[in-house]
């Protein structure tokens, strides 16, 4: 019995001594952290995706508290909802931004851009890109090996087996930008989601002369410039044989879509056109 009591006393004493040491060390080496960081961190989605440009959500919260404003700091995943919350909590002004979504600017599907060679090697876009211009012959087109799908942390992308092109699930996309960085050919772009999710863009990034791009892909942008002329809002520019629609200026009038001879321009989430203009509607209207 004595040994048990002795053991209990000794262990308790050892425990007490270590507890005091730990408490003292904690006091001496305590890191001061601004309590506001915790407040801000509460609102953040906690995905640590890096879309804000910082190493995780906590790092982003620190940046906001340190800067004292949200001028160049934006969390694309949380979006405008958390902008409101954080600015209210910290008592600072904050401007909301237009919601964005990732867009695949290539329609070189297996049907539109027939296969000319077989790629046999590491099945990643980065490797295929450095080895050759790709299976379709278009040096700017999608390689279809899915580096972008793998990079998405929000399960918002999948590869369409029928076309060989990636598909973005609008509702899940948080515009964090991971897929944009992963594509070696810079095919993916973050564009404004648009009012009622309507948007228009040129689904091609080929910079070769029209004759060459048409040889490889039936729906390539040939740089003819018809869309530029048709746009009443000056939103389209033609550089290096490629048309580009500025999403800030685009008013979604859809004139360019019908003008394009290769159906390279896409309209997303628009209602079907009225009867008189039904003849000019093309396959690129996604409703």
């Amino acid at each position: 019995m004595n040994t048990i009591i002795l053991a209990v006393i000794v262990l308790s004493a050892v425990g007490l001594v270590f507890a005091i040491i730990i408490y003292g060390v904690d006091l001496k080496f305590q890191v001061f952290e601004d309590p506001k960081i915790d407040v801000v961190a509460e609102f953040l989605p906690g995905a640590n995706c890096g879309g804000c440009g910082y190493a995780g959500c906590r790092n982003f919260a620190e940046a906001i508290v340190k800067a004292g404003n949200m001028d160049s700091l934006f969390c694309p995943v949380g979006g405008n909802a958390i902008v409101k919350d954080i600015s209210a909590a910290l008592g600072i002004e904050a401007v909301e931004r237009a919601p964005q979504v990732a867009v695949i600017r290539c329609n070189g599907s297996l049907a539109n851009a027939p296969q000319k060679i077989k790629y046999d090697g590491v099945q990643k876009c980065s490797f295929a890109h450095s080895l050759s211009s790709g299976e379709t012959g278009c040096p700017n087109g999608c390689l279809g090996l899915g580096d972008c799908v793998e990079s998405c942390q929000f399960d918002a992308m999948y590869m369409d087996k029928a076309t060989g092109l990636p598909i973005i699930i609008e509702d899940k996309c948080t515009s964090c930008g991971a897929c944009v960085k992963s594509c070696p050919r810079k095919i993916i772009e973050l564009r404004n989601k648009g009012p009622k999710s309507k948007r228009i863009f040129v689904s091609c990034v080929n910079t070769e002369k029209g004759v060459l791009s048409k040889k490889n892909c039936a729906v390539a942008c040939i740089g003819c410039g018809k869309c530029v002329k048709s746009c009443p809002h000056d939103a389209i520019t033609l550089v290096n044989n490629l048309a580009y629609i500025n999403f800030e200026k685009c008013k979604l009038c859809r004139k360019c879509v019908t003008e394009c001879p290769t159906t390279a321009i896409w309209e997303i989430n628009f209602p079907a056109r009225k009867a008189e203009t039904a003849a000019t509607e093309n396959e690129n209207s996604v409703n």
Partner: protein, 443 residues
Amino acid sequence: MLKTFKIGGAHPEESKYSANSAIEVIEAPATVYVMMNQNLGAPSVPVVAKGDKVKTGQLIAKGEAFISAAVHSPVSGVVEKIDAWTDASGYRKPVVIITREGDEWAEGIDTSDTLVKEIKASKEEIIDIIKNSGIVGLGGATFPTHVKMAVPQGEIAEYLIINAVECEPYLTSDHRLMLEKGEEILIGVQILMKALNVTKAIIGIENNKTDAIDHLTGIAKNYPGIAVQGLTVKYPQGAEKQLIAAVLNRQVPSGKLPIEVGCVVQNVGTTFAVYEAVQKNKPLVERIVTVTGKKVSKPSNFKVRIGTPVSLLIEKAGGIPEGSGKVINGGPMMGKAMINMDVPVTKGTSGLVIFDEKESKRPVVANCIRCARCTMVCPMGLQPFLLAGAMEHDNVELVEKNHVMDCMECGTCHYTCPSNRPLLDMLRLGKSKVGEIIRSRKN
């Protein structure tokens, strides 16, 4: 006594089907596509315009940067256009397209076969002539020869080493050149020795070319200072660092050039081109290309003009065999698989190897079984399993620390791996990523 290098190496099947095919001349084609980037370094700048009339051997592009080379017209005719053309990898690069009219050579060029023994040019003149003749390393690396021959201040060349190893399987262009133009090659060696101010030259030849070793050894008796060294057959003995280690047992320090150990290495084809340039005033407009493969009906070695579309060569070798799956520009270990056969011959095209469907497919990849065979065969003493594994997890620091920049992309590790892991692909990715980091550090 045969020599070889000590660290690493493997022995792929030699497959020298075209070793007994004498060099055949292919007439210049109707249109030539002269790529502007046929060498390591900066692309050449055209000095002709659309519509200009040119003669064979006339200068059509200048090498403007320090590491660049001149390009000469391979035919006489009219410049059709200055445009872009797809190279072996499918990307479009600048080209000068010339339509042939006759075959008139430029003034002063001796196109005869007579042997010219006396070397009239002085040491300085030789390097100038090499520069103006657009000669680059014809072993495949295409490094501008005049830059290699210019020994930097403070360094002294002791040995000239001639690379007649041809360690790549299938290729035989250097072999045939030695058998048919042996004397010219030795005069070329003398010219290079004069330019470098060395008295000792060694020609390294692998032991699967005993006829060439015997032939050159016989001729070399009349040329003081030139020795022929037989080498055990081992890949990649043709890499200049490994060749120097084999012949002289000296190791070029990492990151440095062969001149650091007193050597300058030149390919035997380049040496022949130097002979033609200095003794015959003939710039580099043609080269020997091997066309071969297990199913090719007529494995051959052709003398072709630069800019000839590859499809013409394949036609002359019996046409592309039924069921072919891959056409390789170069040898099977380091060559590039071509996307189509309209690609033209360039200064670096040493051969075309045609594979059938079965040979074209990569075997199935399995897990790394940590057998260390890749490490045992790496000629640079690297650990490919470690570097490739690190690249799979994007660990660029580990890759840099383990000397990935020493890798010469010979492919021996990838060739040997029992699990068929894509080691060389990973190493190339590692080199490009580390290269980017090193460049950004310098800025």
